[in-house]
Symmetry: C2
Subunit: 758 residues, 2 copies
């Protein structure tokens, strides 16, 4: 429709403070929960003494694993309440239910738990050794994944230069503005849970299995969500189950809400990776072989680790043609806090490593780093690391736009001339990224979405799916797709809240699948309505349905402008003629062949590409890095809403800056040390300077109206672009994340030392 950007459908209520978050909801007679957590990284629960807690006024009950009617935990997953063994310093052991938050807190402090301390393991490499303390099973392996193409040894023999590097990425926190919360209300028919989550049906399943109840008797309602970044998945299931358990046992509404400290101590994080790369390259810049070894820390439980590590192994070589590849990724159980899904989901770690590697290779060969990426970058019909014949590759187009926007060569030349005698030095760096959309052939198996649409008698529309609006603009995307298909104003469309009583299962809102998969489902729903309406309109206008065009709130016959009818009128006619005004779409991405043993095949049906550049100012005395300018070029297939796309990019870049420079969840001997935002540093608006989003639109073959996902992709190339810019400024490289004050200052001093010694 005419308006190229609309106000995001969820944003006005949020901006005006009118949106209702879970914590805003009140229920009569509500009880409050507090979790008693194990302070030890590995311990057996010997006894739980509830007496003192129960003696506190207002404490109603102290619940433990034995009170759970169903599964106290999913296999190898974090327990709702620990049945016997606590595997990290944060595992919930008991739940105090009280008349007030204060009484619940006092009760939790009064519960006495007797533990038998068990030997713990914190380092993934140690955990793999024979004789290491076992977290799960008999070898601590949480998941493994391989990608083997060609013959790496032969490839290395062809090479003129072989480089071996190790990169370490750190553990970071999702830190959504809204911490974990859930309210469960017992109803006559079952339990209604109010809970912010990106995975409503999975959370419902966890609650149902905890409570040993049919899924249809658990109703999950999604209030406004205060951000997720991948965190509100299994974590939400744990809270929802705890609230449901208390509600069912007390017969009263029960609320559980975490403080920031509780959230940071208990919730899942991004996987920290140790990555060893060995790469061969010819003098002409052509890559010949790459060997990658990744060891990730899964922490105490499995969570999404198998899928994270699978994606990392597939994307480990970056968006480049590498004839011979051998990647082995393994994720290991430790007694650390659990790792799980986080924006990028295994991509940012490997993008970081491979992009630093590309930069260093270019430097060693004396080739411009941008040119180096062009030499090796994927193109149409290139073979990927998994042997997939790539199509619709837009890496070169992204690099073209990046080059133009940042004026790569001239700016590079200018910076080369800069005066480096002062305390401030500048640098320019770039990085590329690619990412498969949705779960892919090696992914979670089932990958689908349902979405529905009902045109009301007055032509207004209700739309619903399980798309979780986590702040990414997902609901606006749905509205956009419907608006485009039906040629109507977005304002006609009302997005109904997610309620598992009604909405079709659309899968979780994760994995760059919101636009791709759920967007396609709503497209199909809208197309069904369009076909039905075209039939009614054709009858009214005396033409054939296929002659009709839906545009500008009308349905008309381009051959005869006099034959036209308004959308609203057709809606009314539809009802009058007893024709269905309902559309249901179900979509599942094409699944390619996949050889799990070798990691070869059509990994994903669709890929996104991007190229980013950062210009940094680095204070040699303080180690402080400011990202003065960040250009992010992303192929979005088709920008359904340009302002939304730009906002999405800006958000991702900001998060990437935090990942690159300051965020760092410190865990020592299994205990989280940075438990609030005074110590865990997030970028603020003062840390963000110029961000320039650049949109490439090469319609996707499968995406709805050609659109691709963007929320996760924007994270991947940010940190490596910044680190490459730091290297450009310093003349030496930081290999491990984060490049915080200390790390940069160390390198700066070392470089200075070397410089003085020169």
């Amino acid at each position: 429709m005419a308006d190229s950007s609309i106000t995001r459908v969820d944003v006005l209520a949020k901006a005006l403070g009118k949106a209702k978050y879970t914590d805003d909801l009140k229920f009569d007679n509500m009880l409050y929960l507090k979790v008693v957590r194990c302070p030890h990284p590995h311990a057996r629960v010997i006894g739980i003494n509830k007496e003192k807690a129960l003696a506190i006024e207002g404490v109603v009950a102290v619940l433990t694993a034995t009170d759970i009617p169903g599964l106290p935990c999913q296999p190898k997953e974090r327990p709702i309440l620990v049945p016997e063994i606590a595997r990290y310093a944060g595992d919930g052991v008991a739940l105090v239910v009280a008349e007030s938050p204060k009484a619940a807190l006092e009760g939790a402090e009064a519960v006495r738990v007797e533990y038998e301390l068990l030997e713990a393991v914190f380092d993934p490499e140690e955990a793999l050794k024979t004789g290491a303390p076992l977290v799960h099973g008999d070898n601590n392996v949480a998941a493994q994944s391989k990608v083997c193409k060609g013959d790496v040894e032969a490839g290395f023999k062809e090479a003129d230069l072989i480089l071996e590097r190790e990169y370490n990425t750190h553990r970071v926190e999702h830190a959504p503005i809204e911490p974990e919360v859930a309210i469960a209300v017992p109803t006559f028919e079952g339990i209604t849970v109010y809970c912010p989550t990106n995975s409503p049906f999975q959370v419902r399943q966890i609650v149902a299995e905890t409570m040993a109840m049919p899924q249809s008797q658990i109703r999950l309602f999604q209030p406004t969500i205060g951000g997720s970044f991948g965190s509100k998945c299994y974590d939400a299931g744990v809270l929802a189950s705890r609230a449901a358990l208390a509600a069912k046992l007390t017969g009263r509404p029960c609320k559980i809400v975490y403080t920031r400290e509780e959230s940071i101590v208990e919730s899942t994080k991004r996987h920290p990776y140790k990555m060893k790369y060995k790469v061969g390259v010819k003098k002409n810049g052509k890559l010949t072989a790459m060997e990658v070894k990744i060891i990730g820390d899964s922490g105490a439980y499995k969570s999404k680790t198998p899928f994270v590590i699978s994606r990392s192994s597939i994307e480990a070589t970056g968006p480049y043609v590498v004839p011979n590849v051998h990647t082995e990724a393994i994720c290991v159980y430790t007694n650390n806090v659990t790792s799980c899904a986080m924006r990028g989901f295994g991509s940012p770690q490997v993008a970081y490593a491979s992009e630093l590697l590309m930069d260093e290779l270019a430097e060693k060969l004396g080739i411009d780093p941008l040119k180096f990426r062009r030499i090796n970058g994927l193109k149409d019909n290139s073979l990927s690391a998994t042997g997939q014949v790539m199509q619709n590759v837009t890496l070169d187009e992204c690099l073209d736009k990046l080059e133009q926007e940042i004026k790569w060569s001239s700016r590079k030349a200018e910076l080369k001339q800069q005066d480096k005698t002062g305390s401030i030095v500048k640098g320019l760096g770039l990085a590329c990224m690619y990412r498969g959309e949705s779960f892919g052939s090696a992914g979670q198996g089932s990958d689908y979405a349902g979405a529905t649409l009902q045109v009301q008698r007055d032509g207004s529309i209700t739309l619903y799916s399980a798309m979780s609006e986590v702040g990414q603009g997902g609901h606006t995307m749905l509205v956009r797709v419907v608006s485009e298909v039906l040629g109507i104003k977005p304002s006609r469309i009302f997005v109904s809240p997610v309620d598992t009583c009604y909405v079709p299962d659309s899968g979780p809102t994760v994995a760059t699948r919101g636009t791709y998969v759920i967007g396609n489902a709503i497209r199909l729903a809208a197309e069904e309505v369009k076909a039905k309406f075209a039939e009614v309109a054709a009858e009214e206008l005396g033409v054939r349905p296929e002659e009709l065009v839906f545009k500008d709130e009308r349905i008309y016959c381009p051959g005869d402008p006099s034959k036209s009818i308004s959308f609203s009128r057709i809606a009314a006619q539809c009802y009058l003629k007893s024709k269905s005004p309902y559309g249901y779409g179900w979509w599942s991405p094409p699944v390619g062949s996949w050889d799990r043993e070798k990691g070869q095949g059509e990994a994903y049906s669709s890929y996104v590409y991007g190229a980013c550049a950062a210009e940094v100012e680095l204070d040699l005395d303080l180690g402080k890095v400011e990202v003065m300018k960040f250009v992010a070029v992303h192929d979005v297939g088709k920008a359904l809403d340009k302002e939304e796309v730009k906002g999405q990019i800006a958000g991702g870049v900001s998060m990437g800056i935090g990942y690159a420079l300051m965020e760092d969840l410190v865990v020592r001997q299994g205990v989280v040390k940075t438990v609030n935002f005074d110590e865990y540093l997030l970028p603020t608006s003062l840390d963000i300077h110029e961000i320039i989003p650049v949109i490439v639109e090469q319609p996707s073959s499968y995406g709805p109206l050609g659109a691709k996902g963007l929320g996760e992709p924007v994270m991947s190339a940010v940190a490596p672009a910044i680190l490459n810019a730091i290297a450009d400024a310093l003349g030496t490289r930081v290999y491990d994340l984060p490049a915080n004050l200390e790390a940069v200052l160390d390198k700066a001093r070392a470089a200075k030392g070397r410089c003085c010694n020169d």
Copy 2:
């Protein structure tokens, strides 16, 4: 499935007091409304003085028609608030909004409305005369309907006997246990209305038009409903609109709940009819012609009058073959309380008249009344009054079962021998009925239902539609249909509450269309799921989908018993294979030709039939009639649940007993006099003796699994069977309803006098 009767899905919560009715809902900061009503039957509002009311502590606002942003009333319908002219003593003029019910009541009493009294008219025949006060338009005609077949004059010439009779039926109250109530909550996106109604989408439309808002921004949620009997339709729209108006203007939740008195004064009633019948019959009992004139009282507004009168004219001759028919029905505006839909919807009035007529004709001809009905009753291929070729007629089968059950001839003979010298006399009477299902070709035009079904990953099911559970067992019917189609236990299925945000428009739950139309929609939804599941199961079992049978919670191959798989497992497989587990059904009954001018054509696509007998004991000193035994035989097509069917019949018979013998809404000079249940007499359990429901099952061609509707049909033949039994006991006839103490005593005394004079 195995269990032939299940516990009704809605009933346990109700029986245990756990069901949440609208009045049970609480919202923070809620305001309370009270209506200021016009006490005059016809008046112009000259001025409204709010001052005194606004001075009362707790009164927040006094709203009038000028505060309404949209339509203050639909054309010729009862206004939300009177813009200028009040047309009956009950029209709402102003709305007091207050912090408490008490303050609202005090405020309402303090509002001073100045009226100019207008001349009023109360008698429909008077209202048709030239010069009569005009209620609407220029002739007070609310609606007219005709049925003209053959040549009645010629028919009368053929007759050996011509009988002319007049019958009057009275005005009665729906009297559901829950009076009218609505709560409106302003939300950021629009308004959410909690309201018990049988027409959620129509009520939403009224609210949207009152508020000048798109329908999709009005969310109507249906709490548990405490009965309707046709009352919770437009009446609910008025309350919902008043609550929505107050909520929007104050920004706070607003509740409006009527006392019984308010409900009786303001709400709609069953149409009172004056019916003049002229009928010709041959000695052999064959009817030759019938001329029917009906004048109905529409009261002050139009409401459903056109559709009520249309049905009455179609069904006026009863389920009999009448070669020549001339029926003219007219409904007239008066300044009485409004008439609208009520259980039976125009059928009970004409069934009453035609069945009394048949009895008297039989008596005059000396033919047994049961035999007389057999002689004239519709059979397969008979032509109805509208010229429709009738099929699947089961009147004879109903009469057979009735004859057996009541032992018609022997009991009749026994009663003939009774000693009539005491004060108690006994009588036996019968009546037949037929009724078209749903709106029919002459009906409201659009006639449709959507319904949806989603199988969850664990094989439990959520089901939703706009089917309103008004106590008739509609939700249980839906569960039954799904259970039968999918061969699964009813307990797997959860019926989600009606919420216009999600549920497909299923039309209103009225007009014997719940089972017929909505039942078919859910059948189609279940069949869609069945087809999808069969495909997945066929793949698993290595057979063709069409070989599979769904039964006993399994899907199996009858040819090879080893090939079988559980329903739950297929549900899980369906998700695993990314196959849609969703079914959507949309159904619309076949529409036949209809000549509106002559009232000829295929009036309805499906008919129900029934035959009833009543045995009464009549106290000649008191005029009191006790219905000692009532046999009700109904063709239900297929009894989806036998206990439910029996309960439905018992309820309808009880209501019919009230209609026949005691209920009477007295209105004098436009003012309702019987404003509570101390004066408006409803039957209690002490008035109900033996009720014997008998089920005939002749599968319907169109109904879901062959089932037909039953809720409304069970009303129709009750009053005439009782009145015919009274005539049998007394030897003289009561022609007008109700046959209350006074009426019966009058006749008894007159009969006695005559008897003595003999």
